[in-house]
């Protein structure tokens, strides 16, 4: 198995207090990792460190061969982002190509094709000319996932992708993510609150239990450990 991302003794703080200390884990190509943890356990801080938006206090994040932190496709936590913003779906999706463009000011035909493919893959190609203000919650998440796919070479980082979606749209989103993982061999890191679903779909669980205690292993190991009882009950 090829290593795609390694986190080595990572320590990071938020608002002056340590929320992550000495966290180490390794993610291989094709893994589907779910990050669990209560509110305030440092999930968002970890996400920011992985994306390179925040510099850790100590420790390091090593990317696999030929990958940079800007090659991670990122789906941000649900906000009212698209509400009232005048932009077409196509404009939003292609903005994911920004990282690969270097200093060139405009997008090349190749990048336009990439965006088109991402939209087709997620079944939103017919919405390309629509304004993102008019989309439903599920369609908006697909648009943002397509944008993330434009940025991603091999790795997608999804921050609570189903928050705010109705149950059927959430189920669609989950099956789409599993499909990307299995068919397209995309490595997935997903922050989630949905423990049961995570145990079903993921190949690895990372649980940030407290600032100096964490769990990393397979869903079976997690289910059998005493940490999980707090989340899924006995």
């Amino acid at each position: 198995m090829k290593k795609i991302l390694e986190c080595d003794k990572l320590t990071a703080s938020y608002d002056g207090s340590n929320v992550i200390s000495g966290l180490s884990f390794t993610i291989n190509e094709g893994d589907y990792v779910c990050i669990l943890g209560e509110n305030g356990s440092g999930k968002s801080t970890l996400v920011k460190c992985l994306l390179g938006i925040k510099t850790p206090d100590s420790g390091k994040i090593v990317m696999g061969e030929g990958l940079k932190q800007t090659d991670i496709g990122y789906l941000p936590q649900h906000t009212d982002l698209a509400k009232g913003f005048p932009a077409t779906v196509a404009e939003v999706v292609i903005s994911g190509c920004l990282g690969r463009r270097g200093l060139r000011p405009f997008y090349s035909p190749k990048e336009k094709k990439l965006a088109q493919q991402a939209m087709e893959r997620l079944g939103i190609a017919d919405l390309a000319k629509r304004s993102c203000r008019e989309l439903s919650g599920g369609q908006q998440q697909r648009m943002l996932l397509a944008r993330a796919m434009c940025a991603a070479k091999k790795l997608l980082l999804l921050d609570e992708p189903v928050t705010g979606l109705d149950p059927s749209a959430a189920a669609d989103m989950y099956s789409l993510i599993s499909e990307l993982n299995q068919k397209d061999n995309m490595t997935i890191i997903m922050v989630s609150h949905d423990v049961v679903k995570s145990l079903d779909d993921a190949s690895r669980i990372l649980c940030l239990c407290s600032s100096d205690h964490s769990f990393y292993g397979t869903p079976e190991e997690y289910a059998n450990s005493h940490i999980s009882s707090k989340f899924i009950g006995d």
Partner: protein
């Protein structure tokens, strides 16, 4: 009215007063409408307003102390723009109350200083604008600024879109969002100071905000909003300017009224097309 028209088109008046005003005016309107798109969409609409009041305070102090107005106002307003953008990013301090605090303080200082010194003429120019009194150097500065703003928008268009739409995602793809925010702070500050001389401190924020709001009524795409906002604001400027000369009204206020008129027209058009789309 006919007399007004006759005066307007005498070659002397046209070359000496009207042409510089039109060139400088178009330059400033383009800048403010383009920058306005980002400011409005990032919910920084009030920053233009706050900056103009700060600029007013700085210009009054400069006038009283007999210093060159632009040399004092530009650095002060640029510094204020940095601070206000920072405060808006910092969730602990609410940006809009910080703007209110800064702008009313600066306004009060300006009025206090100028009333004490008995200086009201120059200073009231800055309050209400005096586009027909734009000096040659003001016009040149406005044109240079507008070229910089237009080039920035052309070359960095896709990055500006990304930073405006979703700053965190832009950062994750390796865009240095803080640098863009700083560029915006400086360009906005310069535009506000120049626009203030033309439209007055009271009206400049309308030039920043209204064209974008107008364009957003009908446009679905970001590109459409940018292009429409620029076009509508230049057109409103020309119509407003002509109206003010014809009817002897204050130029700044006339331009704002034309802008508002277009906003109302576009709102009606927008809701009509939405209604027909639904049925």
């Amino acid at each position: 009215m006919v007399d007004n028209l006759r005066i307007m088109f005498t070659p002397e008046f046209f070359m000496a007063i009207l042409l510089p005003a039109i060139i400088g005016g178009i330059a400033v309107t383009i800048c403010s409408s383009l920058l306005g798109v980002t400011l409005v969409l990032k919910r920084y609409s009030m920053i233009g307003d706050g900056l103009s009041h700060i600029g007013y305070g700085a210009l009054s102090v400069a006038a009283v102390m007999n210093l060159a107005p632009l040399k004092v106002a530009l650095p002060v307003v640029i510094a204020a723009a940095f601070i206000l953008l920072r405060l808006s990013e910092n969730s602990r301090l609410s940006g809009d109350s910080a703007i209110a605090l800064f702008s009313t303080t600066a306004l009060a200082v300006g009025i206090l200083v100028s009333s004490k010194a008995g200086l009201t003429n120059d200073v009231s120019h800055y309050m209400f604008g005096s586009i027909l009194a734009m000096s040659k150097s003001d016009v040149i500065l406005s044109v240079i600024l507008s070229v910089i703003v237009i080039l920035t928008f052309l070359l960095l268009y896709n990055r500006i879109f990304s930073v405006t739409f979703d700053e965190n995602f832009a950062r994750a793809t390796g865009v240095n969002a803080s640098v863009y925010n700083m560029i915006f702070a400086v360009l906005t500050a310069v535009t506000v100071v120049l626009g203030m001389m033309m439209m007055g401190a009271l009206l400049i924020s309308s030039l920043i905000v209204i064209p974008t709001l107008t364009a957003m009524r009908v446009c679905k795409s970001f590109k459409g909003v940018v292009l429409t906002a620029g076009t509508v604001s230049v057109f409103s400027f020309l119509v407003g300017m002509f109206m003010s000369l014809l009817m002897n009204t204050a130029p700044g206020a006339s331009i704002v009224i034309v802008n508002v008129f277009f906003f109302l027209c576009f709102s009606v058009a927008g809701s009509l097309s939405k209604g027909s789309g639904r049925s």
